[in-house]
Structures are given as C-alpha cells and as structure tokens.
C-alpha cells in the first residue's frame, strides 16, 4: 500500500520495452581538469560508462580519485572540459529535474522541520503541494522517520538526518539517484544499517542509483556493478559484475563469493587503496 502511494510517474525513458532495460545514463570520454589556485588538477580522464535503467552502480576508488567530481558532472552542477553525458537520451547541460542527489552531509535547513526539508524541492520546483505532501509523509515512513516529521533536523541523530536527505532526494520523482558517500560520516554499525535500508528503499522505488563510496565492502554489498577507479587522474580500472542475489543480508558479507568480490576490487586498487573493509 505504501509503494502505490510513493511510486512516481515513469521516467522519461520513452519507447523502452520491458524485456530490454533501457540505458539511463551514458558517459563518453569524460575528461575534467580544473584549476585549484595556480595548479591544474587533472581530476578525471577518459571516463566512459553506461548505466542501465534501475541498475545500482557503485563507483569505488581512493580519496581524491575524482569520484565526487564525476558526480557533480553527472548532476550538471559542473560542466566537463571534454566528453559528453547523456541522461535518458538528453545531453546534460545543467542541473536537471530527473536527478535526485544525496550529498556527503545531509545539508538540512535548520529552520525547516523534517517534513518541510523533504518538501524543499517541491517548493523550489513549484510542484503541487497537496499531492507531494502526502508523498513526502509516505517517504518519511519508508525511510523510518514516520514519527519525526514535525521535529527539527538538529533534534535528529546523524543517521536520521541522512535518512531525511534521502527522502528529500526521492520526493520529486527523479528516476536517477546520485549518492556521494552518503554514509561516510556515520559510525560502522549505523552505516551497515543504512546500507540495508538503502537496499530496501531502492527495491521499493525502482530507481537507478549511482553510489559513490570509498568503502569496498559497502560497494560490493549494494551494487549490481562496481566501477573501480584509479587515483588522480581518475580512470576506470575495471567494471566488475556482482551476481549475488537480492535481497542481500548482512550475513551475505561472510559468504566466500562476497569475499572474492572484495578481494578483486581491493586487488585492483592496490596496496594504497584507502577503502576500509
């Protein structure tokens, strides 16, 4: 009963047949060099990647491999030097309504209640209040904040704040969800819990997710495919398929195939990889 209330309009992927999942995101030969002070930072080099509709892709790499830059480019917040990004068939030339973003920190506004924070995109985009208020309430229920709608974010713990931020990214029906190390600031136990919750939310909402992390275990636990990146300038070292069945449990992390995938990713990242298991 929840999902019928929450599922939004179908993504703009018109003409897609049910049998062959369409491509949500196409990145071709993306290169990004930007100036930091007087030095030029070569952040990304020749990134080519496509993500299927409703796929969960994790991008994993050491700190400073340009993961966050890649996410800012996909979201249209920055523009690349070279290369192209297409989202649902249209080139990305600036911020778009079909992308929801969860940042590293929750970035909730202290003067708005949790529900009002979730409604912020609706206010800004000028969408009908009544319809989306009902949806926002249902989403808060989904992310486990049912009883906290009228509290202020500063009354919530870090994990709860990030749940609210996820609800905010989901509320305006964007088919693509970009997540930039959303659980990096949480303690290990809360983080595992949030990974489980995210898997549940993702399967309830059927979104396409691009999830950035420097935790190898988190990437393997969540993703259909792991995109392993090199240190700066960020290049794609390898894309690894993760055939482990859903819904995955925390116990799956103890299975040999899980360990094998982790070993593969860590092997690619080499000894200096900053990823904690």
């Amino acid at each position: 009963m929840l999902s019928s209330n929450i599922s939004g309009p179908e993504p703009a992927a018109a003409g897609a047949t049910a049998a062959a999942p369409s491509i949500a995101l196409e990145i071709a030969h993306l290169t990004m060099i930007y100036a930091r002070g007087r030095t030029a930072v070569h952040a990304l080099d020749e990134i080519t990647l496509s993500v299927r509709d409703r796929e969960f892709v994790a991008i994993v790499g050491p700190s400073g491999c340009g993961k966050s830059t890649l996410l800012k480019l996909i979201s249209g917040l920055r523009l690349p030097n070279r290369g192209a990004i297409r989202l649902y068939g249209r080139a990305v030339e600036g911020p778009r309504k079909d992308v929801g973003i969860v940042f590293q920190s929750p970035i909730l506004l202290a003067w708005r209640t949790v529900l009002e924070n979730v409604m912020l995109p609706i206010d800004v985009l000028g969408l009908p209040q009544e319809t989306y208020r009902r949806k926002a309430v249902a989403l808060l229920e989904l992310v486990g904040l049912g009883g906290f709608a009228d509290m202020y974010p500063q009354e919530l713990s870090g994990g709860m704040q990030q749940r609210a931020a996820i609800a905010r990214a989901l509320v305006y029906d964007a088919p693509l969800l970009l997540m930039d190390e959303p659980f990096g600031a949480l303690d290990a136990m809360t983080r595992e819990q949030m990974n489980l919750e995210l898997q549940r939310i993702w399967s309830a909402q059927r979104k396409t997710v691009v999830f950035i992390t420097h935790s190898i275990a988190e990437a393997v636990f969540l993703a259909d495919r792991m995109v392993v990146m090199s240190p700066r300038p960020g290049r794609i070292l390898k894309i690894i398929d993760n055939p482990m069945p859903r819904a995955r449990t925390l116990d799956d992390m103890l299975k040999p195939e899980f360990g094998e995938l982790v070993r593969q990713v860590r092997g690619l990242l080499g000894g200096q990889a900053g990823g904690e298991l």
């Binding site: 911020p95 003067w111 800004v124």
Partner: protein
C-alpha cells in the same frame, strides 16, 4: 539510534523548580550590592553636604522621578522619544534589508554602494543632525531620519555578511534543483542571514535611542532629550538623574523586547553550531 537524546519529562518539570530557586539565589547578591551602593551614596551626600545641584542623593532622584511622572508628563515625553527611536530603527532596518538584497542579488551593486556607506559612517552623525532639522523640520520626521542614519551601519554590515555567508554545499543543493536567485534568497540566504541580522539589530537598537536623544538635543520641544536640556538649564540635577533612569529603563525594555523577538524568530540559532558540527 533514536531515543538516546530523549529526556524524561519528569526530570524536566523538576528542573524548572530548581531553576527558579537558582535564579533567586543568583539575583540576591547583585541586589544586595545595589542596595549597599545606594545607601553609601545617600550617606556620602548627606555627610559631606554635597549640594543637590552637583550630585543629588538617591532619595532626591527617586522623588524627582515620582514627581516627573505625576506632574511633568514624563510618560508622554518618554513615549515620544521611544516612538522616534523605534520608527527610525524600523526605517533604517528596512533600508538595510533593501540595500543588502540588492547587493547580494546584483553583486556589482556592492562596489557602487559600499563606498558611500563607509563615507557616511565616517561622518559623525551628530555633525549632520542640525542639517536634518533644517531639512526635515522641528518635528518627529527629522528625528526618524537621524535615528535611521545612526542605526543603519551595524545592521547593513550584518545583513550583507549574513546574506553572503552560505556554504557551497547548501548552494549546490539549491542549484541542483535549478533554483533561481530569488528562490535561493528566499529559501536559503535570508533565513540563513537572520542570526547575523539580529546581531546587527541588537547594536542598532541601542544606537537608535542615542540618535533620538541627539535629535532632540539639536532641536525639539518635546521628548526626554528636550527634558534633560531643560533640567540642566534649571540646574535641576535630581530631575536630570531621574530622566537618565527613565532612559535606561527604555533602553533595557527595547533590548529585551528585541531579544524576545529574536528567540522566537531565530529559534534554531542555539543549536546551529551543534547541527553543523
């Protein structure tokens, strides 16, 4: 994850009783010192036979205070001064908000406007007060202009600083939603600036009483400033002291009224520090 911050309700109500007792205890010492000082002052004036036209005894000030309200329309004059201070304060604040918004929305405006503001600030307002009387007359209008001029600067500086001090993260959040400049101002910059603005207003409210008195000194036939001049000319120093008391009561009232409004409007400010960690 939740529940850890919940305080039991019983402990809270018990706490208010203790708080009241604490408050009484804390007020006792300053009160005792005050009474002691008054007694000492009374004794010194009495023993050394200091004439009333130099330093009046507290008892004489008290009598003058009572007589002033009963016979010399202190309340009427206090209301005039208070009204001038508050109206000038409001005019100045409105002006600052308008300038601040212009400067932030159109950044080139800052370079054009700021030099004049600084130039105006460096001129002692007492020096231009007589001119304001010439331009705006003997009545309330000239006082409002003088008060506005005096209280403008601290508010303006804080309005501009507040509207500009936004985290890049929060701006990214708004940009990702394709928010317009005005939407960013409305949903983000303005509420974010409120704690700064109130810091400026707290300084300005004190300045506004100074401005009103200066205006009345320069040219008026009513108000507390006018009464103080009269009392000085008549060598009625007890009355002058009584008027100082009236002035300080007015100042304290304005200050606490503003503080009350501040805690209501900027209810999140105390927790903001914690919230941003």
């Amino acid at each position: 994850m939740n529940g850890a911050e919940d305080r039991p309700a019983a402990a809270r109500s018990e706490g208010t009783d203790r708080k009241l007792a604490d408050r009484l205890q804390r007020a006792a010492l300053p009160l005792a010192v005050f009474v002691g000082l008054m007694a000492l002052w009374e004794a010194v004036v009495d023993v050394l036979k200091i004439p009333t036209y130099l330093v009046p005894a507290p008892s004489a000030v008290f009598l003058a205070f009572i007589r002033g309200f009963a016979e010399a329309h202190y309340l009427f004059h206090a209301l005039i001064t208070g009204a001038q201070a508050v109206m000038g304060f409001l005019v100045g604040t409105a002006l600052c908000l308008a300038i601040g918004v212009l400067v932030v929305v159109f950044p080139t405006m800052e370079r054009i406007v700021y030099p004049y503001i600084v130039a105006l600030q460096t001129v002692p307002k007492v020096a231009i007060a007589p001119l304001m009387i010439v331009w705006f007359g003997f009545g309330i209008e000239s006082k409002i202009v003088i008060v506005a001029l005096v209280s403008l600067f601290p508010v303006l500086v804080n309005v501009i600083a507040g509207l500009k001090s936004i985290d890049q993260d929060r701006l990214d959040l708004m940009s990702a939603l394709s928010a317009s400049r005005w939407q960013i101002l409305r949903y983000l910059r303005f509420p974010n600036a409120l704690p700064f603005i109130f810091a400026g207003l707290n300084t300005a409210i004190v300045f506004s009483v100074i401005g009103a008195i200066v205006g009345e000194f320069v040219g008026s036939n009513r108000g507390l400033g006018f009464l103080i001049l009269q009392a000085n000319f008549a060598l009625d120093i007890a009355a002058a002291f009584a008027l100082f008391v009236v002035l300080s009561i007015m100042g304290v009232t304005l200050h606490f009224t503003l503080q009350y409004i501040q805690t209501r409007v900027v209810f999140w400010a105390e927790s903001e520090e914690f919230f941003r960690h």
